[in-house]
């Protein structure tokens, strides 16, 4: 291990021993974008919290992928408890939260209005201006050798950064499209099951009803004959 890496590590351990409140986890830091898919049982509310720095912005996009009705309640509240956004029984939504106060923003998905159907919910968080403590792209001390043509290097780097951010956007769009497709597919699969079920039920009902009809009509006449003789 290079000396340049040992010193910050030792210092961070030192700091964590003194400042018991501040947990230094060099290994744990969240990337700028994350998405999660989870099942929300009926009658339940699930809440997630995101710590925000001042002047950071958070974009949250959610979709209901499966579950009868494909709708869910959604709300976001600030650290001081103010309700920022409130969606009532929507199947998808996008909200951008400007972090005016520092703290933990809470967003919740509410399925309490439904008693039997479980919802499959997808959400994506995109964070801006969070000043990641460790710049993931600052690789200068990890690389070997130097590149020639130092004059043009900056331009090439700029272009590469540009391409990287565009590709990142492509990935985000792909994630959203994937969620839409998953929802349509789940819908179609449930349609398929419904068509099968009700066709079979329909068949049985028709056969039984026709047999019962014939039996009833016959029985009417049977009794009359008996009464006459």
């Amino acid at each position: 291990m290079e000396p340049a890496r040992i010193f910050p590590c030792v210092l961070s351990v030192f700091m964590s021993l003194i400042l018991d409140r501040f947990a230094v986890l060099a290994a744990f830091s969240q990337a700028a974008d994350s998405d999660f898919t989870f099942t929300l049982p009926p009658g339940r509310k699930e809440c997630f919290y995101q710590t925000m720095k001042e002047d950071a912005s958070l974009e949250i996009e959610y979709q209901v992928l499966d579950g009868a009705g494909l709708d869910v309640d959604f709300f976001i509240s600030s650290p001081s408890g103010h309700l920022l956004f409130n969606d009532y029984r929507k199947s998808d939504g996008v909200h951008t939260v400007e972090a005016l106060e520092m703290g933990d923003y809470m967003f919740c998905f509410d399925n309490t209005f439904s008693t039997i159907s479980e919802k499959l919910i997808f959400f994506e968080l995109i964070l801006d201006n969070m000043d990641m403590a460790e710049d993931p792209d600052d690789w200068k001390e990890y690389i070997h050798g130097t590149d020639m043509l130092d004059m043009k290097l900056e331009d090439i780097m700029d272009t590469i950064n540009n391409v990287k951010s565009r590709l990142g956007k492509s990935v985000q769009i792909q994630t959203v499209l994937r969620a839409f497709e998953a929802r349509d597919r789940n819908l179609q699969e449930s349609n398929f099951d419904r068509v099968n079920l009700w066709s079979v039920v329909n068949l049985f009902v028709m056969v039984i009803v026709s047999a019962v009809q014939v039996y009833l009509v016959r029985s009417l006449f049977e009794d009359k004959r008996k009464n006459r003789t």
Binding site: P8, M15, T37, K140, D147, I160
Partner: protein, 215 residues
């Protein structure tokens, strides 16, 4: 010097991670729909509610989480206990919905007297799992080469996802067409059955009445 400063600031500000609360016997599951041969790294950090200080303690020793990961065929591919801070990783071999479930392994009721465990979770998929400083060191790359390598990985991941998307769309189309056909055939069959049943009923009743000398 820049890394030194960034480590100091990291010490002062809490890391910005998504967190949620979990009960003692509660199991929280997340679904990741991923193509095959994709690596997934999950990192979590737990904090326990402390009634005395009415706040969350940084890390609780002895309190672990049980992580269970199922593949699209609901076969368990990972089922392990981890400590209060953990990192789990797996690579998918079949494309589809993988389920990642977490629940605490606490048997000591006293720890959960407050009832809340805060779990910070981060799940990275595919290209995001690559550790570029490590790759640079292993392959001895210059900065330009490293950045281009990252772009290549990103594009490869997008391509894999697109291929998987094609496979899913085909399955979706097959289901739709099958439903469509079934609706059509069933309507025709139903009409047919109704007509046949009607004819049978009439004939049967007619012969019944004739037998009973009513007609």
């Amino acid at each position: 010097r820049k890394t030194l400063l960034s480590v100091l600031t990291q010490g002062v500000n809490t890391p910005g991670a998504l967190y949620f609360h979990i009960g003692e016997t509660e199991k929280k599951c997340f679904i990741e729909e991923i193509p095959d041969e994709t690596m997934v790294i999950g990192k979590y950090r737990t904090q326990l509610w402390d009634k005395q200080t009415t706040s969350f303690l940084p890390s609780t020793p002895g309190l672990g989480m049980h992580v269970e990961i199922k593949d699209p065929d609901t076969k368990i591919i990972l089922s392990r206990q981890y400590g209060s801070d953990g990192r789990f990783t797996f690579t998918s071999h079949t494309p589809g919905e993988h389920q990642i479930c977490l629940h605490s392994n606490s048997t000591k009721m006293a720890l959960f007297a407050g009832g809340k465990l805060r779990v910070h979770l981060d799940i990275q998929v595919g290209e995001h799992t690559n550790n570029y400083p490590e790759i640079a060191a292993k392959d001895k790359l210059t900065e330009l080469q490293l950045r281009v390598r990252q772009l290549l990985d990103q594009v490869e991941q997008i391509q894999k996802e697109q291929n998987y998307q094609r496979f899913r769309e085909e399955r979706f189309r097959m289901t739709s067409e099958s439903t469509n056909q079934r609706v059509l055939w069933w309507s025709i069959a139903q009409t047919f059955i109704l007509i046949i049943t009607g004819i049978w009923q009439m004939r049967h009743l007619k012969s019944f009445f004739e037998a009973k000398k009513l007609v």
